[in-house]
């Protein structure tokens, strides 16, 4: 799993992600994020990397 900065233009990416969810209810936003997760997971493909990401997401809210 890559944890060093890898997103080309972080500010633009974040603003785009936020804009995409503008006006959505919490449920719509959750559905959107779920679709996005699956699309992004398919870009990664490698199971060990996906597992590390799932693990990191699960433990980074502590």
């Amino acid at each position: 799993m890559r944890t060093d900065p890898g997103i080309a233009d972080p500010d633009v990416f974040y603003a785009t992600l936020v804009a995409a969810q503008e006006g959505m209810t919490a449920a719509e936003s959750a559905a959107f994020n779920a679709r996005l997760v699956l699309l992004l997971a398919n870009q990664i493909g490698d199971f060990a990397t996906l597992l590390a990401c799932i693990d990191a997401a699960k433990h980074s809210a502590d």
Binding site: A31, R35, L38, L39, N42
Partner: protein, 555 residues
Amino acid sequence: MSASDANNASTGGYTLPTYPFRVPPEIEARAERRRYPVVIVGAGLAGLTLACDLATRGINTVVLDEDDTIGVRGASSRGIVYARKSLEVFRRLGIFDRIRAKGARWFVGRTLVNDDIVYEFDMSTVTSSEQPAFLNLQQFYIEWFLVDRIEALGRTDLRWKNRVVRAVQAADHVKVDVETPAGPYTLEAEWLIDASGLASAIREGFGLDTHSSKSTEDRWCITDVRFTKDLPQERWTWVEGASNEGRAIWQHPMADGVWRLDFQMAPNSDPAYVSHPDVARDRLRRHLGEGVEFELVWVGPYQYRAHLLDEFRHGRVFFIGDAAHVVSPFGARGGNTGIQDAENLAWKLALFLSGQAPERLLDTYSQERRAAAVENLEVTSRTARFLAPRSEGERTLRAAALALARKYPFARALINTGRLSAAHTYSSSTLVTSGGQCVQNVPIILADGKRACLIDLVSGTPCVFLALWSPSRTANASVVTGLRSLEADFPIKLLAVGTHPMVNSIRDADGTLARELRLEPGFVVLIRPDLHVAGVFAEGDLPALQAAATRTLGR
């Protein structure tokens, strides 16, 4: 006797054969208690497959069944999808042609959410085998064909209305108490095979725990329906069906214009209510629309459960099929697994009983088939979980996968409505040097130019392994002598792939043999009687081949 002179039992529009009770010799002749080498309890799919397999290997058995007909409670629900590996076994046993003639072929499957088709697939080209990827057929037909075949082979003492009430282990046999309409009797089995299903009295008598679990509270109502008007010969699967309050629905073709419609029920629904014929008819009318005429063949509620024995061998008793393991029906992994249990035990018993393998080989039945059962449990629980999300979060994820699957192929792989039973790869088996995967039953051409298929080479007697050799250009006479010595020392049939002046050969019929074996020139693949790979070796490495042969026979 054959099915034609049997009496008949009518049920659900079907007339099934019934087989006569015959007074067993133990009672008729007031004979001493008799001892038999192999006794099989239960004439269901697994038990009949085993009896038939052993008969083709020249081994006599006694089969005890409490009923006097095939099927359970007549033409009831049970297994309907037979996967390639099972069909290959049936080809070896000699009943595949009847199954093919009777079974429903389908290739197109559609997955839906309400009226929207999420995606569809075509299964018509996914197999190199002589057998299709699957065929749909009511289980009682398979059992019927097996009984006919067993009777034709003439090696099996099929005893109907013989109910086993107790089995007791002794040092060199198992004492079996049987009840019949003519009274009770006792027989002795050197080896007892329990194929009597989940409610096995034998297993319960031994107090063996099946580790019952309800990983899901999932309840379904199975409805077998005969239509007057044909539906498209396709499998439709609703992950969410409007006619079933948003729950899942399965729609599978079977033989004779009968369809299997499975409706997922609400948690904690009342089984008696949901399977009441009037309630079932209402549900069907909602699903099919008004004006579609149908006749109910069978309706039954079903709660999915899982069971798994710790060991499939207990002293001189082997457990096969549902007596050893039960999973939810997703992917047709119940019946198909029982058939493979039977095949696995059959070749091991055949080699042991003919003195070519030690008793240790029999122990590997439990090791190999339990690993397959564990895999089935894992695979079916994932399907169950996909179909019954346990939280809003899970439901959201599933909705995301369904939404993406409409547009993108990658997401279709996430839609889990069942993963069809496939042969287990015995990668951790002590019998396997390398590989362990199952080779498909590809077409071949024999040395005399006749067309055949791979499984013909391991059918019947004697029960053999195959050493398939792709000769290198430099293979000399000492290589040939070495390889031929395998035939003398082990139950192995040596065959060159291609042509060789000194060794019997087979040829590829259409390129699928080379693709299945992936055998480089200069190598030998050792294949078991069940078409699983035991290892691949360099042609000149005789010690490695001898070691692998010794190992795979449990010697």
